[in-house]
């Protein structure tokens, strides 16, 4: 079978000593930093990105992916023990996980989180291996109109599915698109919004924006926060979940995996949406929904599985279509582009070792994550006690040096500071940064494909609705939009997207 031969090629790449070491290092570093309170996967990757620049493309992608799911798992640990999730998708885990910890059941909560992440990750990686090539073949037929409609769908999704005011989220998308314009226009060669600064001719770097919005702005918010949190990391005695725990958790894990895999494959839907919907589904299916929020094990298993499943299927739109599904994926994509690889449907044929090596390394990474986390849980738990006043200067150091090292220029550091101000003001005004950052990432591609589609159609917008695939994307977008604007669904949406979608 095709998949088997591809996977064996992939494992040949992933299991070389070198790549195995990078995968391990990535998972270890990712967990180590992700477990620190208040640091999410995005900031973790942005901080560790410079470390991977010297590696060859395959190794650096494998290591970055390792950092990503390591950081995600680390974030769940923090969510359970400290109730201070570093990212929105772990915020769901915190609801019941933290309650379990308060009841002295931190060990089983952590173990179930690890196992359901593993199951979710492994199954969804299989899905990537089976459906990746199919979607890749299908995507070869995509023209400019299809790409435009798909990105449009992703942008609308990201605005509609984030918690809070819809108009503000749409405005954040537009603001992100506007920021993405900064730099030299591809078609005309004209510098736009560069204000005479030569450093802006190549546009604003993605890490600059990400670190400014998510690290600097976030630190200011965390410092200004007043309430004290109780940490439950000393009393992890028994990791072993009871038989009843496992019986209660396996079905939610599988349902969470299914939801997460599906949502992860759609651009614009972040892992936090996947984990929130998995949580809501379990609450709906439960015989006694009132247990949720008071330490229900299903409330840990389902979102963790969904979260990790979505993390793997995010690679489908990102690598195969070249459309980053989330801010984290945009960082990965940026790293690949810096290595001279243009992601898209051709990558699978032109660089099979890259795609299949990554897929195989996801299996390896998930195994490493499990092997690493269960025995090291005590160490991670101790790390969650590091006081925040030591952490944020360290984050600032990595932020400053990381941004400086991009172009060896202070301009990126100044821009990061400016983005930090903007990000803080926006956060205070309850404008969520996730839609903005997706707009920023997709902006240049969106404009380019719109321009190409209209050039070929002689300026007629009919091209977007006469081509069936493009029409499908637009109909789905419109359907979701209308559904979400209806008041009854709107109320449910507010429940389901309680997070801020920062991953």
């Amino acid at each position: 079978m095709d998949v088997i031969s591809h996977l064996s090629l992939g494992f040949g790449v992933a299991l070389t000593l070198q790549n195995l070491a990078y995968c391990f290092l990535g998972v270890l570093l990712g967990t180590l930093i992700g477990v620190l309170p208040g640091i999410g996967p995005l900031v973790t990757i942005a901080m560790l990105l410079p470390i991977t620049f010297g590696l060859d493309p395959v190794s650096s992608l494998i290591m970055l992916a390792g950092i990503f799911y390591g950081a995600q798992y680390g974030g769940s640990t923090t969510a359970i023990l400290v109730n201070m999730p570093g990212e929105a998708s772990s915020a769901v885990t915190a609801i019941d996980g933290y309650q379990m910890a308060r009841q002295g059941r931190a060990g089983p909560a952590l173990a179930i989180a690890a196992v359901s992440s593993f199951v979710g990750g492994t199954i969804s990686t299989l899905l990537v291996a089976f459906f990746g090539p199919l979607i890749g073949t299908w995507a070869l037929e995509f023209g400019a109109a299809e790409y435009f409609s798909l990105m449009f769908m992703g942008l609308v999704f990201s605005a509609v599915l984030v918690h809070g005011d819809l108009v503000k989220s749409l405005a954040m998308v537009a603001a992100g698109l506007m920021l993405g314009i900064v730099g030299t226009d591809v078609t005309s060669g004209l510098p736009r919004f560069s204000f005479g600064l030569s450093e802006l001719l190549d546009g604003v770097g993605f890490t600059v924006i990400a670190v400014g919005l998510f690290a600097v702005a976030e630190i200011v918010q965390n410092i200004s926060r007043t309430e004290k949190v109780e940490v439950f990391s000393k009393d992890i005695k028994n990791l072993m979940p009871t038989w009843a725990d496992m019986k209660a958790a396996w079905k939610p894990t599988l349902r969470g995996t299914a939801l997460g895999s599906f949502f992860g494959a759609l651009p614009g839907i972040t892992a936090s949406v996947a984990s929130f919907s998995a949580y809501m589904l379990e609450k709906k299916l439960a015989k006694d929904p009132s247990r949720f929020g008071k330490g229900a094990i299903e409330g840990v298993a389902a979102p963790e599985a969904a979260n990790n499943a979505a993390a793997q299927t995010h690679f489908i739109p990102t690598l195969i279509l070249g459309i980053p599904a989330s801010a984290v994926m945009a960082l990965m994509l940026g790293a690949l582009t810096m290595q001279g690889i243009q992601p898209g449907p051709e990558v699978m044929n032109s660089r099979p070792e890259l795609f299949w090596g990554l897929v195989a390394s996801m299996f390896v990474g998930n195994v490493l994550l499990l092997v690493l986390n269960l025995p090291l849980v005590g160490l991670w738990a101790r790390l969650t006690q590091v006081p925040y006043r030591w952490l944020f200067p360290a984050i600032m150091m990595f932020a400053a040096l990381g941004n400086y090292s991009l172009n060896n220029s202070a301009m990126d550091v100044y821009l990061c500071a400016a983005t930090g101000i903007l990000g803080y003001v926006m956060a205070k005004l309850e404008c969520h940064p996730a839609p903005l950052i997706l707009g920023f990432v997709l902006g240049p591609m969106l404009e380019e494909n719109l321009r190409r589609a209209l050039l070929m159609s002689d300026g007629s917008f009919a091209v977007f609705v006469t081509r069936p695939i493009s029409l499908t994307f637009l109909v789905v977008t419109f359907g979701l939009f209308v559904a979400m604007v209806l008041p009854s669904v709107r109320r449910r949406r507010d429940l389901a997207t309680g997070g801020d979608g920062t991953d």
């Binding site: 537009a174 005309s188 101000i421």
Partner: protein, 153 residues
């Protein structure tokens, strides 16, 4: 409690979007607009500018109607200190080298926290400087001098 304009959450957000949109639109006026068949470099930013102003007006009106306030106090001082620490880092890095830039960065940003202890910050600074030099200079081999003197950069 009365909501003044300066703490009206959505009104301020609306103004912010309107300002961003207006700036984008006005700057983009100097770029060729082109046509639908051949979009010029001014097409996309101008359309976005109009959209942003529109969203901004809608948000402003909503804010004036609902009068929802900004939650919690503004943390201007920590924000100022963190931003200052980054700017100082960039400025010093290009003129006096890595170590002076790092020391100022770490001490200034640590000052932004609620609890600030000199001794603890001193230890933290030494540890972080060592870490930075080990990772970025020795590990990644980035060509940064620890000390330099180019005030006229």
């Amino acid at each position: 409690m009365s909501t003044n304009f300066h703490n009206n959450r959505d009104a301020l957000a609306g103004l912010l979007f309107m300002a961003l949109g207006a700036i984008g639109f006005v700057v983009a006026l100097s770029y060729p607009f082109g046509s639908l068949q051949e979009m010029g470099p001014g097409f996309f930013p101008r359309v976005l500018g109009v959209m942003l102003v529109g969203f901004g007006i809608a948000t402003l009106i909503k804010g004036l109607r609902s009068g929802e306030r900004v939650e919690g106090a503004w943390g201007w001082l920590p924000l100022l200190l963190l931003v200052a620490s980054l700017v100082a880092f960039g400025w010093l890095m290009e003129r006096f080298g890595l170590l002076p830039a790092l020391v100022v960065l770490i001490v200034t940003s640590a000052r932004a926290g609620k609890e600030f202890r000199w001794k603890e910050t001193a230890v933290l600074t030494v540890v972080l400087c060592l870490m930075a030099v080990a990772i970025f200079v020795w590990g990644l081999g980035l060509p940064y001098s620890l000390f330099s003197f180019e005030p006229g950069h």
